[in-house]
Amino acid sequence: MAPTEKQSKQSMAVLQGTLDMLILRTLLYGPAHGHQIGKYIQRTTNDFLQMQHGSLYPALHRLEQRGWVSAKWETAPDRNREFKYYRLTEKGRKQLMVEESQWKQMMEAVARVMWPAAEEG
C-alpha cells in the first residue's frame, strides 16, 4: 500500500525526532549497511515509515560523528561486494537506553492526556 501524501508528511515529522533512535535500535541486532537499515525499518513498520533511503544518510553520518556508531567497509556475505557497515558502539548502546526511556516517558505522558479514562479504569 502506497502511503498517501498526508501519511507521508506525518511519518516524516515522526521520523525527524525518532530516526536516530530507530537506527540505533536496528543496529542492536548486529552490523548493517544503509540499505539494510532502511529496508528493515520500512518492513517492520508495515511500510508506514516508508522513507526515501536518502534521509538515512545524514542521520547515519550524524551518529557516526557523535561516536554512537562506527563504520567500516566490509564485503557482504551474499553479494561479494563491499558495503559500508555500521556497528553500534558502547556509547551508542547507552544512548539508545537514554532515548528509549525518554521516548517511553513521553509516550506515557501523551497517553495520560489522550486517554485519561483508560488511566483511571
Binding site: G34, Q52, S55, P58, H61, R62, Q65, K84
Partner: protein
C-alpha cells in the same frame, strides 16, 4: 571532522550511495522489473542524491564555509564568462569606492585620528566671551584666579603665541613660538626628549630666561648636538639658556619651534585685567565633563565680575575642545564633502543594481533550472549576493589603487592652512573602512536584483527563457534612475551654489586695491632696536631704503595685513570722558601704520588728510577713522577736528576719514568690529615701541612680481644688517586665495563629485532606456505595423527618458532645498546667493534634462529604425 578530511569523506559518501543504489537496483531487477525501469525505481527509492549529499555535508559542520567557497568559485567563473559586464561594474565601483576611500582618509587623518597627546579628549581651551563677542582671549589676572579656584582641572596653562627672531648662534632665522605659563607641557602630557621642562621658579617676572626648542630646530639648526642643553641662544636680542628639547612628534597648533615661560617675557600684561591676550589650555580631571568644568569656571568668573566691575562686566567663560580649536570650520566642510562623496557611491550603486537587474533577465532561465532542481530561495539569494560582493570587493581593491593616486593629487591642492594634513594617508583604519564599505555596497546593490532573481517564477522562466517577468523589474529600473537624477541634482546644485558664491566673492569690492601689493616681515637687527628712538629711526630708514628700490611705488608698515585674519581691536570713545567701564565702550579695529599706507593699499581718502611724517612721538596725537565709524558716531556732522580717545593710548584729534575695508575675509559681513581707527605707529609710547614694531609687517605696492622685486629688497635689508631675516613674503592676492581656501577646496571636490555623479547617472539612464528599447522591440514592431510613424516612436522613447529624469529632478529640487537649510556647514560657505537660488536650480535642472535627452538619443534612434517585420518575426 577537520576541513581537510572533507574531500576523502565526500568520496566515501559517494561510494556508499552508489553501492546502496546498485543494491536497490539489483533487488528491483530480481523482482522482475526491466533493467531500465529498475534503475529509475531505485533512484526514486533513494531520493535526490545532491540533496542527500548537501544534508550530509551539513552534518559534518563545514557546510557554510563550503557553500561560501563554492559560491565564490561560481561567482568568479560567472564574471570571467562576461568580461564586458564585469569591467563596467569594476570601473564604476573603483570610481565610487576610490573617491570614498580618498575622502575617508581625509576624514580619518584630520578629524578621527587621535591628537598626539595622552588622553587628548580631556584637553580643552577656555575663553572669555561677552554677549556681543562669542569668543575672546583671556586676561592674565582672570586666568590666575581661575587656576587658583577651579577643581575641575588637573592643570592649566596660559599661552601667548609669539614669533621669535633667533639671531645667534648662526644665521638669523624667524621662528614660531609660544610663551606659556608654568605647567604647559604637564597639561599636554608631554615630556621633553632631552633636558627638562621649565620650573615654576622660572616662570617668574625676574627669572633668568630659559627656552625649550623643537626637535626640528635641534636637528636642523644645531645638527642634533647632544650637548646643546645648557648652552645659550639669542632670541629677539636677548640671551636664553636652552633647558630642553621637545620630542619629535610634538605638534601643537601652529608648529612652534620655541617655548619660553610667559611671565618673564610678557611683563606688561600680567596685571591688567582688561587686556585679553591669552589662550588658556586646560586638562580636565578624570570623570569631569566639559559642561561641568565650564559651569564651574563661569561661577568663578561671576564672582570676579563682582570684584572687578571695572574690567570685567558680563564676561562669561566658554570651553572648546583642543581638536575643535585645531579644526575650526574645516570639520564641517570635510564632513559635508564626505557626505557628498557618499551620494556619488549611492548613484554608482544604483547603476550597478540596474546592470544586475538587466542581467537577471538574461539569467532567468539559469535560475529557473536551479529552482527546478531543488535550490532553495535563500540559497540562490546567497549565491547572487556572493557574486555582487565579489564584484564590489574587487572594485574596492581597485578603488584603493585609485584612491592612492587621487590622494596624491588631493594633498597637492589642499590648502596649507588645513590642519593635520600630515596624518592623511591610506592607513589601516582607512583600509578597514574601505573593506567594510565594499562589502556593504555589494549587499546594497546586489540585494534587490538577487531577491527578484531568486523569486523568478520557475515555469514561466523555463517556458519563455528570454521573456521572464519584466514589468516589475522595469518599474524598479525606472525608480533607480529617478533616485540617481535626484541625487545628481543635489550634488550639482551644491556645486553650483558654491560656484556662484566664489564668483560673487571675486567681485566684492573690499574697499582697497588688492592687486600688486606684497607683504613681508623683517626682523631688524637687535643692535638697531635697543632704544625706542633708535627703533623708530631704524624702521623709518628701512622704509626709506625700500622705497628707493626700482619698481616700488609705495611702501609702509602695518600691524594688520588685510584679509589675513589679523585682529587687533579695542575700546574707544568720542571725546575725552571715559565711560563707566571699558566693556561698555564701543570697540574698533586698530590699524597702526604710517603716512604712505593709503597709497600703498589703494585706500580712498574721503575727507581731511591721512598722516604725515610730522605725526610722530611728541606731537599732538591724531587719528583717521573709517566711513562706518564716521557715519555711526558723527551723523550729519563733520568728524574732522573732533576728539576721539583710544583706550590705553589716549585722546587724539580726528584729521581724516577713509573708506571702510573688509578685514575678515572678502565675505566680511561687517558684524564683528565694523569700526576702524588708524593710529600713527610713530606716536606709539616708548614703553611699547620695541615689542610692537617687531610685530609690524612691511607692505609694498609694485607692479613687479614678488619673484623679481624681493631679491632687490632682501639685498637692501641685508646690506644694513646681515642678521635680519626677511620672511612671510606674500601678495595680497595670495592672502585672498588663502582666505578662500576652504571654499575653493570644497568647490573643487564638490565639482569633481558632481561630475562623477553626472557621468554615472547619464550612463544609468542610457542603460535603462537602451534596455527597455531592447525589451520592447516586439511592441514597437506592432506599433509601427499598426501605423505609428518613426518620429512618434522616437518621441515615445525620449519621452520615457524625460519622464524618469523629470521625476528625479522634482525630488532632487525638494531635497536640495531641504539640505541647504539643514546643513549650516554648507550654507555658511555661501555668499551673495540665497539658500534657495532659482537661477542655480533652473540651470542645473535644464542641464540635467539635456543630458537625459542626449543619453536617450541613441537608443531612441535605434528604436526608430526598428523594422516591424523583423521585430515581429524574431519573437
Amino acid at each position: 571532522m577537520r576541513w581537510w578530511q572533507i574531500r576523502g569523506r565526500d568520496a566515501d559518501l559517494e561510494r556508499e550511495l552508489r553501492a546502496d543504489l546498485e543494491l536497490e537496483e539489483e533487488e528491483q531487477r530480481e523482482r522482475g522489473l526491466p533493467s531500465e525501469e529498475s534503475r529509475y525505481a531505485a533512484r526514486r527509492a533513494l531520493g535526490n542524491t545532491v540533496l542527500i549529499k548537501e544534508q550530509t555535508h551539513e552534518v559534518w559542520g563545514w557546510a557554510p564555509l563550503e557553500r561560501l567557497w563554492q559560491d565564490l568559485r561560481y561567482a568568479l567563473r560567472q564574471l570571467r564568462r562576461s568580461p564586458g559586464f564585469a569591467s563596467v561594474c569594476l570601473i564604476t565601483l573603483a570610481l565610487g569606492i576610490g573617491a570614498n576611500t580618498a575622502m575617508f582618509s581625509v576624514v580619518q587623518g584630520v578629524i578621527l585620528a587621535p591628537l598626539p597627546f595622552p588622553e587628548a579628549n580631556r584637553l580643552m581651551f577656555l575663553w572669555e566671551k561677552r554677549p556681543s563677542v562669542p569668543q575672546l582671549d583671556v586676561s592674565y589676572p582672570n586666568f590666575e584666579d581661575w587656576e587658583k579656584s577651579t577643581r575641575s582641572f588637573d592643570s592649566m596653562s596660559a599661552l601667548a603665541f609669539h614669533n621669535f627672531d633667533l639671531t645667534a648662534p648662526g644665521r638669523a632665522e624667524h621662528l614660531m613660538g609660544i610663551r606659556a605659563s608654568y605647567g604647559f607641557l604637564r597639561t599636554l602630557g608631554v615630556q621633553p626628549a632631552a633636558g627638562r621642562d621649565f620650573a615654576a621658579s622660572e616662570d617668574q617676572a625676574n627669572a633668568a630666561p630659559v627656552v625649550l626648542i623643537s626637535d626640528r630646530l635641534w636637528r636642523e639648526r644645531f645638527a642634533s648636538d647632544p650637548r646643546l642643553v645648557g648652552r645659550s641662544v639669542d632670541l629677539d636680542g636677548k640671551s636664553f639658556t636652552v633647558i630642553g628639547v621637545l620630542p619629535p612628534e610634538f605638534h601643537f597648533l601652529a608648529d612652534a619651534d620655541v617655548i619660553t615661560p610667559l611671565r618673564p617675557n610678557l611683563p606688561l600684561i600680567l596685571t591688567d585685567r582688561s587686556v585679553e591676550a591669552l589662550a588658556v589650555l586646560a586638562r580636565l580631571k578624570l570623570g569631569v565633563t566639559k559642561d561641568q568644568a565650564e559651569a564651574e569656571v563661569n561661577t568663578i568668573q561671576q564672582e570676579l565680575d563682582r570684584q572687578y566691575p571695572d574690567a570685567n562686566r558680563s564676561i562669561a567663560v566658554t570651553a572648546t575642545s583642543l581638536l575643535q580649536e585645531i579644526l575650526g570650520d574645516v570639520r564641517g566642510t570635510i564632513v559635508l564633502l564626505f557626505g557628498a562623496v557618499g551620494l556619488v557611491l549611492l548613484i554608482a550603486c544604483a547603476n550597478l543594481a540596474n546592470l544586475l537587474l538587466a542581467r537577471s533577465t538574461a539569467r532567468a532561465r539559469e535560475f529557473g533550472v536551479r529552482a527546478a532542481l531543488g535550490a532553495s530561495r535563500g540559497r540562490m539569494v546567497r549565491q547572487l549576493l556572493t557574486e555582487s560582493v565579489v564584484l564590489s570587493v574587487a572594485g574596492g581593491a581597485l578603488g584603493v589603487l585609485l584612491a592612492g593616486f587621487g590622494l596624491h593629487a588631493l594633498l597637492a591642492v589642499l590648502p596649507h592652512s588645513l590642519p593635520r594634513t600630515g596624518n592623511i594617508g591610506l592607513h589601516i583604519p582607512v583600509l578597514l573602512f574601505t573593506g567594510g564599505a565594499s562589502i556593504a555596497v555589494g549587499i546594497l546593490f546586489g540585494l534587490a536584483p538577487a531577491l527578484r532573481c531568486a523569486s523568478t517564477d520557475v515555469q514561466g522562466a523555463l517556458q519563455s527563457a528570454s521573456r521572464g517577468t519584466t514589468t516589475g523589474r522595469h518599474r524598479l529600473l525606472g525608480r533607480l534612475v529617478v533616485v540617481q537624477f535626484a541625487l545628481t541634482l543635489v550634488l550639482m546644485t551644491g556645486a553650483g551654489l558654491l560656484l556662484r558664491s566664489v564668483r560673487n566673492l571675486w567681485h566684492v569690492n573690499p574697499g582697497f586695491n588688492m592687486r600688486h601689493v606684497i607683504s613681508f616681515r623683517v626682523g631688524l637687527s637687535p643692535s638697531f632696536t635697543n632704544t625706542p628712538d633708535r627703533t623708530r629711526t631704524a624702521y623709518q630708514q628701512l622704509l626709506a631704503r625700500i622705497r628707493e628700490v626700482p619698481g616700488v611705488e609705495a611702501a609702509d608698515l602695518t600691524n594688520i595685513v588685510l584679509l589675513s585674519g589679523g585682529d587687533n581691536g579695542g575700546p574707544f570713545w568720542i571725546g575725552t570722558r571715559q565711560p563707566a567701564t571699558l566693556q561698555e565702550a564701543p570697540h574698533a579695529l586698530y590699524f597702526w601704520t604710517g603716512p604712505d599706507y593709503p597709497k600703498t593699499m589703494g585706500l580712498p581718502l574721503l575727507q581731511g588728510r591721512f598722516f604725515t611724517p610730522g605725526d610722530r612721538i611728541g606731537t599732538d596725537k591724531v587719528v583717521v577713522i573709517d566711513s562706518v565709524l564716521a557715519n555711526r558716531f558723527f551723523p550729519n556732522q563733520n568728524p574732522v577736528g573732533q576728539t576721539l580717545t583710544v583706550a590705553h593710548w589716549g585722546a587724539a584729534r580726528i584729521v581724516g576719514v577713509v573708506g571702510h575695508v573688509h578685514n575678515w575675509g572678502l565675505d566680511d559681513p561687517g558684524t564683528y568690529l565694523p569700526q576702524q581707527i588708524y593710529i600713527p605707529a610713530y606716536q606709539l609710547p616708548d614703553s611699547m615701541v620695541t615689542d610692537f614694531f617687531r610685530t609690524l609687517t612691511v607692505i609694498v605696492r609694485s607692479a613687479l612680481p614678488p619673484g623679481e622685486l624681493m631679491p632687490a629688497i632682501r639685498n637692501v635689508v641685508f646690506t644694513s644688517g646681515p642678521d635680519q631675516p626677511v620672511y612671510e613674503v606674500k601678495t595680497i592676492d595670495e592672502v585672498v586665495s588663502e582666505s578662500m581656501a576652504t571654499r575653493n577646496i570644497a568647490i573643487l571636490l564638490l565639482g569633481v563629485f558632481a561630475g562623477l555623479a553626472l557621468l554615472l547617472s547619464s550612463v544609468g539612464i542610457y542603460g535603462v532606456v537602451s534596455y527597455s528599447v531592447m525589451r520592447r522591440t516586439q511592441e514597437i514592431g506592432i506599433r509601427m505595423a499598426l501605423g505609428a510613424d518613426r518620429s512618434r516612436v522616437f518621441r515615445m522613447i525620449v519621452g520615457q527618458g524625460i519622464g524618469m529624469a523629470g521625476a528625479g529632478l522634482g525630488f532632487g529640487v525638494l531635497a536640495a532645498i531641504a539640505l541647504v537649510r539643514l546643513l549650516p556647514s554648507f550654507s555658511h560657505l555661501l555668499y551673495g546667493v540665497g539658500q534657495i537660488d532659482p537661477l542655480t536650480l533652473f540651470c542645473v535642472s535644464v542641464g540635467l534634462l539635456l543630458v537625459a535627452v542626449a543619453a536617450c538619443l541613441l537608443p531612441a534612434s535605434r528604436a526608430m529604425r526598428t523594422d516591424p517585420m523583423w521585430a515581429l518575426r524574431t519573437e
